[in-house]
């Protein structure tokens, strides 16, 4: 037992779980490779990891950093950026899921399948984003007004001196 831990790096349960997991995954890969276009499958499988970990993640991290810097330059307080970040994130989630319709990537197949022409998904998505950003702006206006009233109520001296 101690020797297994020494050589393998973990206990017997781990080893059993590893073997079972790879056995099932191996079976599934064999089944997929018997189907059409195994190479194309591998490209999409590996491509999904690369697209997320090495392309999407660095890009959105960079956008975050740029937004943070820009906020700091125009002297926004730390949490103020969330009035942009939250609606932007919600718009991004909707886009990540529904981008084939929003960008009309295959309108021909849409019509062939549904027997209708696609509605203006891009317009709907943009409208949703507009509502979220406007809503966020309204919440910001209310919150900042409340904060100002609170400051005035608790410390009138300070409120006057800032003017």
């Amino acid at each position: 037992m101690g020797e297994l831990r020494e050589r393998y790096g973990d206990g017997p349960l781990h080893l059993i779980a590893v073997v079972a997991s790879f056995a099932i995954a191996g079976y599934a890969f064999l089944q997929i490779f018997q189907q059409s276009s195994p190479l194309n499958f591998i490209i999409y499988f590996a491509g999904a990891i690369i697209a997320h970990d090495l392309i999407a993640f660095p890009i959105y991290s960079l956008l975050e950093r740029i937004a943070g810097r820009a906020g700091a330059t125009v002297k926004l307080s730390g949490s103020l950026i969330n009035y942009v970040r939250v609606p932007a994130l919600l718009c991004a989630f909707a886009f990540i899921v529904w981008f084939p319709l929003i960008l009309e990537l295959d309108p021909g197949n849409y019509e062939a399948s549904t027997a209708t022409t696609p509605p203006d998904y891009l317009g709907r998505w943009l409208l949703m984003c507009a509502v979220l950003f406007v809503g966020s702006g309204i919440v910001y206006a209310i919150n900042s007004r409340r904060a100002r009233d609170r400051d005035r109520a608790t410390d009138p001296q300070d409120a006057r001196s800032q003017r």
Partner: protein, 426 residues
């Protein structure tokens, strides 16, 4: 030879712990996201396998594998015909839980991202195998979720066939998830013991502290000042998840509430005769003349029978309100009229239990042919429908005649029916 080799100091960049500065990352956040994601994955996986059962893959032409494959050992029961909305429910849940998982999945990947660059890259054989399995977990997860998402939007940029790739891809994902749970549930339980399951949600921004860094955790060594609380981040992710869930569910609901599905493919845009279609007549490749007066329904059984549409309309008609429920997660309930399938079986000289292989006029296509189980044929509500909502079927809905079976996947409700072969079941 020594394994693993000495790796020395990490190279500059993401391999150094100081590179990762978010004050929110740490075992608690990742564990909380995992605990939120797991039920959605379980629901999505179970409803996915139920859909597989609903297809009766062991009947002629319905399956995706060869007889003798593992898939046939995984069929625990026969898919029922009652309640009639069963498949609309399970498959609506499959799609809605799948899209709702996306924001949480992405947030969880974000929270665990330092692990991709951990140093040393390999600590032991166990660690190396675990990291290899993580490639299957992340790749499998992204692959299964996004092939599903593109499929429901009728966008197929790949060459492989969707159903087996999505089905067996989920085996890869779930196998890797099983190992991930074995290794990570103890870590999550430890994080919840130390910090409480929901206690960190009480902290507003001013009270948001980084989790203490450790050798094998994602908590930052040099955290920045927080700009959002953990509950702020989780509420945003949760709102995204809930919104996507509602959009998914909207495709299952009829009436004005269907507008909720404003970004989904089968929303309030409707279709011919006011309801949605899975495949248009144009896409079926059928010549219109073949659906006219020359059309005959061929029945095969103990004897062969040919019936015109007039003959069928002269038989005793039955009217049923039944949903058409698509594997793509949308459904719509309409009132169908036509001849019960078991009356047609009797006409072909097959009484008692019979399977029915239904062929369409459709040229090619994955579902130009489907086999219905004896329980489906025997249900009195299963119809060869000629009319819908007191009008003749539109061409897009399968004129001159289509199958409608309660709780069956939509693609098994064959349109533009050409022939039905009844086979007695011993």
């Amino acid at each position: 030879m020594k394994f693993p080799p000495e790796f020395g100091d990490p190279p500059p960049g993401p391999f150094r712990r100081e590179f990762w500065r978010s004050p929110l990352r740490g075992p608690w956040l990742t564990s909380f996201l995992g605990a939120a994601l797991l039920p959605l994955i379980v629901i999505c996986a179970l409803t996915g396998f139920l859909s597989h059962v609903a297809y009766y893959p062991d009947l002629g032409g319905n399956g995706i594998g060869e007889p003798g494959d593992l898939e046939f050992f995984l069929l625990p029961f026969d898919w029922p015909t009652s309640p009639s909305w069963l498949y609309a429910f399970t498959q609506g849940l499959h799609i809605a839980s799948g899209v709702a998982a996306i924001p949480i999945l992405l947030a969880k990947l974000w929270s665990a991202m330092p692990k991709l660059f951990e140093w040393p890259p390999v600590r032991s054989i166990a660690h190396a195998l675990e990291r290899a399995s993580l490639a299957l977990l992340v790749g499998g997860g992204l692959f299964v979720f996004f092939t599903g998402i593109l499929n429901i939007q009728l966008f197929y940029p790949w060459n492989f066939s969707f159903v087996p790739a999505h089905y067996y891809g989920s085996f890869v994902f779930l196998a890797a998830l099983g190992l991930h749970l074995v290794t990570k549930v103890p870590v999550a339980l430890k994080a919840f013991r130390e910090r409480g399951v929901i206690a960190p949600l009480r902290d507003d921004l001013a009270n948001t502290e980084p989790e203490p860094p450790g050798e094998e955790t994602t908590a930052p060594y040099s955290p920045q000042a927080p700009t959002i609380s953990r509950r702020g981040l989780l509420a945003t992710v949760g709102a995204g998840s809930l919104g996507l869930f509602l959009i998914g569910i909207g495709q299952v609901i009829g009436g004005p509430l269907r507008r909720i599905a404003f970004l989904a493919p089968r929303n309030n845009s409707g279709g011919p005769q006011g309801f949605q279609v899975n495949k248009s007549f144009t896409a079926s490749g059928i010549e219109e003349a073949m659906t006219g007066s020359v059309w005959r329904l061929k029945l095969e059984g103990a004897r062969s029978v040919e019936l015109s549409r007039q003959d069928l309309l002269a038989m005793e008609q039955r009217t049923e309100s039944l949903p058409i429920a698509c594997v793509e997660g949308w459904s719509t309930t309409q009132t169908w009229s036509g001849v019960p399938l078991r009356d047609l079986a009797a006409l072909a000289g097959v009484s008692g239990g019979a399977e029915a292989t239904v062929k369409s006029l459709q040229v090619g296509g994955a579902f130009g042919e489907a086999t219905l189980a004896d329980g489906q044929v025997g249900d009195e509500r299963s119809l060869l429908a000629l009319r819908v909502n007191d009008a003749d079927l539109a061409l897009d809905h399968g004129f001159p005649a289509r199958i409608i079976v309660p709780a069956a996947p939509g693609v098994h409700c064959t349109k533009w029916v050409r022939s039905i072969t009844f086979t007695e079941v011993a």
